[in-house]
Every structure is written in C-alpha cells, then in structure tokens.
C-alpha cells in the first residue's frame, strides 16, 4: 500500500499486521477487537455475515497475542479472516445461503479452512452469498441481501458478496470466496477489493459445497494484491482429498511481486471492450491499460471471436452440473425435510421445493432440461464443444501475450432489486468472467478507479498456473495508480459517528 497508514487496525492489510505484530505495535487481540467494533458499527447496514462467533475469535486472538510476533510465527498468525458460507466448517453452521441447509453443521473442515487454521488465521465467521453460489448480486441468499459498503442502495456483487463487502468495510482482514462464473472477481470489482480466481486445480475444492464441479474454484478476497498473493500461497496446492487438485508446485507468490512489467505483453481483448460497456467502466479500464503501458507493458490488441459465446455455453454447462450436484438435497442426510411427506419421491420433491429459492430451481430445471433425452446433444454436448473452442482460443492467445486484460463486468455495482426479476439481465453481469471458468484459467480483479462513487475492477487473466504473472501485473497497476483516498461510504459514516468532531 502506498497511502498513509489507516487509523483503524481493521483497515490494515494482513502483511502490515504481521509487521506490526513483529514490532510489538499491535496484538491480535487489539486487531480482532477493532474488527469486531467495525462489524458492530457497519453490519446493521452491510449484512456481510450469516454467522459470527465473536467470543471464539477473541479467544483465538488471545492465544496468538504472544506468539504472533515471533520470527517463526505462521504466515497468517493472528489475522482475522471471513469464510464464504459454502465452505464447510466443522461444527459451525454452513448454509451456502440456502434454507435447505439451515441448521447444517458439517462434520469436517474444508481443506482451505484446515490450511488457514494451520497458517494461524482467526476465523471470524461465515459470509453471505447467493444460494449455492448461484447469482451475481447476493440477492439470491435465502437470508436477505448484503449491501455494498460504497453505496448501501446497491448490490455488492455475487455470489461471494458477503466476503467482498466484509473486506471492503474492514469487517475482516482477508476473506475466501468461490468463483464458478465470476463469483470472486465481480464482487471484488463492485466492492473495490482484490479478488482472484485461481487456475482450476490450483486450490483444493474438498469441503466446498459443490455448484458446478468442473468450474468451481476457491480464491482470496483481499484489500490489496500482496494480501491476495499471501492468502493464495496458504491455500494452494495438491490435496489428496480432491482428485482435481493439481500436483503443481506452489510458488512463493508474495516474493514474486516485483511490480516490474517492462516488456510484458498486455493482450487487450477487443471483444471485452465492445458494445454495452458502461462509460465509467470503459474510462477506468482504458486508464488502467494506459497506466500499465506507462509502466513499460507493451499493448497488444487481441481478438477472441468466440468469447461472447461463453455466456450461453456457461449457462448450460453450469446448471447441468448443478442439477446433478444438488440432487443430494432431498431431506435424507442433512438439512430441511418437509413436514408433509407420505412417500419417498413425494418427500424429495416437496422438500426441495420448500428448501430451494427461485434461482436455484430455475437452474436445476435448466440443467435437467439440457441433460435430458432429446436435448442433451443440442444443448449440453454443444455447449461443451463451444467450451473447448473457447478454451483453445484463450490458450492460443496466451501464447502470444503474457496476460489478457479487460473489464470485470460491463457496469459498476447496480441498484438492489434492479435485476432480480430478470434472470437473463442478471446473467449479463458475468459476460467477461465466465470465459476463464470455462477455460480453467486464472484471473484477478484489481481496483482500477471509480465511476462516480463506485469502484471499478480491471480483470487480468493469465496462463494455467500463471497466477504469479497475473498477480504481479495487478501489483504493478496498484502501484501505478494513486492509492485511493476514498473510503466506503458506510465506513466513513461509522467513523464519523464514533469520533464526533
């Protein structure tokens, strides 16, 4: 971070907290207390959390008070983190934003949770999300929407909206989200924080409540690029419990951030800058590209003619997988069961209709249709072939350039309620993010300016397992752009209330 040190420990990035712990200037208890005070101040408006355990967080912090400053302390010792509520936490309620999982307490931790605890992180609680991560605004949560800390009348993005809003508002130092079609990057952009979707297979999905298994990835949401790199390093790597997790060495991402991009070939995707782009988004993205050029990157215009077909292909493949993955919610092993069941099939059907929200039902229907006899070839198989076409196109483009850049979403955060009645309109928010999920490639959303009072994100995509290059490009941009003097409106208002002039 290039700006002045923020007043509250709640606004300090994890790398800075670590330095403060080492110097004895702060303790984990002080940080957790500051974060809990912030939560108390802003949560009535933001509603980022579905579950918060303040006492447990304080206890864990106290355990780190002496050790967190040690030279050999684990990398996230005493750092408060929030977890998207589709990550299983042993004995701690996990709903994935769905009524059908109300009351569910997983019997095990997701691998990422185990790794975070081993790295010394303090788990604050579980964050709100669209039901089963299906949505782009967090309005599909069965437990009510989260609001954008920059403008509480607008959505925080989704589906990891609670995690993004929590980091933006200083309600957590770091957070984990999941990204199936943009669910880390889009809320990252809408909330003005860094959000990274890793390469498919970079991070274990064990304990992530499955939405679309060939697309889902867990990734970090953070205040800045250094923190995202730090968090990625801690969660990445092969896990025997997830057969799709890759046996690929995990680089020391934070130390690879040099900020040097001289000679970097910056592929500017023409199809991502055409038609329907909000002028504020176009301006901010254009300025970000020029800033990277001024830092020495070489602009190369790239065309990905099939990229626009990613959206329909995604909205066939993802629901198809969801329709299968969500078959397990039937009132038998966990979660809601209807009170009115006379026979087994009737129990399944009634339980599911009572427990699922509208968007989840819509996607189960869409996916079941696309997989059903007579439609499989025309829809599912064709979408999987388009997916392969897109994957090849992206991989080929990345042979000639080092990264691909463009906007994260066509607009800034939109008003609450604006798109909930129109599924297709909502899906359009994902038009630039879904191609990377289909292709399995990594992408980061990094703040690159504002449209009015709303943050805008630049998407930087890279080669498979090329997170280091993606993050370093984002880091170069972060350094090239002036540190934002602005603070989320909700946070500024809370601080005015707590320290009257």
């Amino acid at each position: 971070m290039t700006g002045p040190h923020p007043a509250s420990p709640a606004d300090r990035p994890a790398w800075d907290l670590r330095a403060c712990y080492r110097r004895g200037e702060l303790s984990p208890s002080e940080v957790v207390d500051a974060v809990l005070r912030r939560i108390e101040a802003v949560e009535p408006q933001v509603r980022a959390y579905l579950y918060l355990d303040a006492d447990a967080a304080r206890r864990e912090a106290a355990q780190w008070d002496r050790a967190a400053g040690a030279e050999d302390a684990p990398p996230l010792a005493g750092v408060p983190v929030a977890l998207k509520d589709n990550l299983c936490t042993r004995g701690v309620p996990t709903t994935a934003g769905s009524r059908i999982l109300e009351g569910f307490r997983p019997p095990y931790d997701a691998t990422v949770v185990t790794r975070l605890r081993r790295a010394g992180a303090i788990v604050l609680g579980k964050t709100n999300c669209d039901e089963f991560a299906m949505g782009s605004s967090t309005e599909n949560s069965a437990f009510g929407p989260t609001r954008n800390p920059w403008d509480p009348d607008r959505v925080p993005g989704g589906s990891s909206g609670g995690s993004a809003a929590a980091v933006a508002a200083g309600e957590a130092t770091l957070a984990l989200g999941s990204d199936t079609g943009g669910s880390i990057r889009e809320p990252g952009a809408f909330c003005g924080v860094v959000g990274l979707k890793p390469t498919y297979g970079r991070v274990s999905r064990y304990g992530l409540i499955a939405f679309a298994s060939s697309l889902d990835q867990i990734g970090p949401l953070a205040q800045d690029v250094r923190d995202a790199a730090l968090l990625l390093r801690e969660i990445a790597g092969r896990d025997p419990a997830d057969a799709t997790s890759a046996e690929v060495e995990v680089p020391d991402y934070p130390t690879l951030l040099t900020g040097r991009v001289a000679g970097l070939r910056l592929g500017v995707v023409r199809e991502f800058l055409e038609g329907g782009l909000d002028p504020g988004v176009a301006d901010a993205v254009g300025e970000a590209i020029r800033a990277l050029e001024r830092s020495g990157a070489r602009r190369v215009d790239v065309s990905l003619p099939h990229a626009p077909y990613a959206l329909p292909a995604y909205y066939i493949v993802a629901p198809a997988e969801a329709s299968s993955n969500l078959a397990r919610y039937a009132g038998v092993l966990y979660g809601h069961r209807t009170a009115q069941a006379t026979d087994l099939i009737g129990m399944y059907a009634r339980t599911r209709n009572e427990g699922f929200g509208a968007e989840v039902k819509r996607r189960i229907m869409l996916g079941t249709y696309a997989l059903s006899a007579g439609y499989y070839d025309a829809f599912y198989l064709r979408a999987q072939r388009v997916r392969e076409l897109i994957r090849r196109e992206f991989v080929q483009a990345l042979e000639d350039v080092d990264v691909l850049v463009g906007p994260v979403s066509p607009t800034p955060a939109f008003p609450l309620g604006e798109r909930v009645e129109d599924p297709l309109e909502m899906y359009l928010a994902d038009v630039f993010t879904v191609p990377l999920n289909l292709a399995g490639l990594p992408g980061v959303s990094v703040p690159c300016g504002f449209a009015g009072d709303l943050p805008i994100g630049l998407q930087i995509a890279g080669r498979a397992f090329g997170e280091a290059t993606v993050l370093n490009t984002a880091y170069a941009l972060e350094r090239a752009l002036a540190a934002p003097a602005r603070r989320p409106r909700v946070v500024a208002a809370a601080e005015r209330r707590s320290s009257p002039a």
Binding site: A243, T244, R352, M365, Y369, R387, E388
Partner: protein, 111 residues
C-alpha cells in the same frame, strides 16, 4: 442420439416444464410452472446463438487436469464416525436414516 437443432422456445410448453420438474424432483406450484415456462423459454431462446456456431471437429471439453486419475494405495484410513455422519439427518433410528415408505403397503402381505 442425433444432433438435434435446439428446439424453438415454443417447445417449452407446459408438458415439458412438468416433465423436467418431475425429473428434477421439484414439486412446483402452478405459479412457478407458469413463470419457469416463460423464463426458461426466453433463456433458451437467447442461447440459440450457440446453434448457429460452426464447430467443425471440435470435441467436447475434456474434464480433468494434471492430477486427474492419480492413484493411491488402497489402505484403510480414518473416516467419519457413524454418529458424526448421522448427526445432521432429519430423522434417524438405531444408527440408520429413516425415510417414508419406499414401497407402499397394499395389504397383500399379512403382517
């Protein structure tokens, strides 16, 4: 199966919605059925653009990455206890999950 052209949205009629709901194990209300008929119709209509794409000999995307198919030794390891595995079930008895009758008792068998 033949390579069908995607069906026109008019093909999303009430019967298809009912069939897909049955396959999905979703007991939809009449309002939901009407809503999804309209919405699925317009979603699938907008996806027609995929039908026009020339795909040549491009195969479907292959699942799996560098680790797919990794083998391990077939050794017993610790797993969930029965108690933990059943702790979230809505209804259990004697270490089993209880569900409504699968086969209806038509009275033909004496108790």
């Amino acid at each position: 199966m033949s390579e069908d052209r995607p069906k026109a949205p008019s093909m999303i009629d009430a019967a298809i919605v009912a069939r897909v709901a049955r396959l999905s194990r979703l007991e939809l209300t009449p309002d939901e059925r009407r809503l999804f008929q309209v919405q699925l119709g317009s979603i699938l209509e907008s996806f027609q653009q995929l039908a026009a794409l020339e795909l040549g000999d491009v195969p479907p995307a292959a699942p799996g990455g560098p680790a797919a198919g990794v083998m391990r030794d077939d050794l017993p390891v610790a797993c969930l206890s029965r108690e933990d595995a059943l702790a979230n079930a809505p209804e259990t008895a004697d270490g089993y999950v209880v569900v409504p009758p699968v086969i209806e008792d038509d009275g033909s068998r004496a108790p």
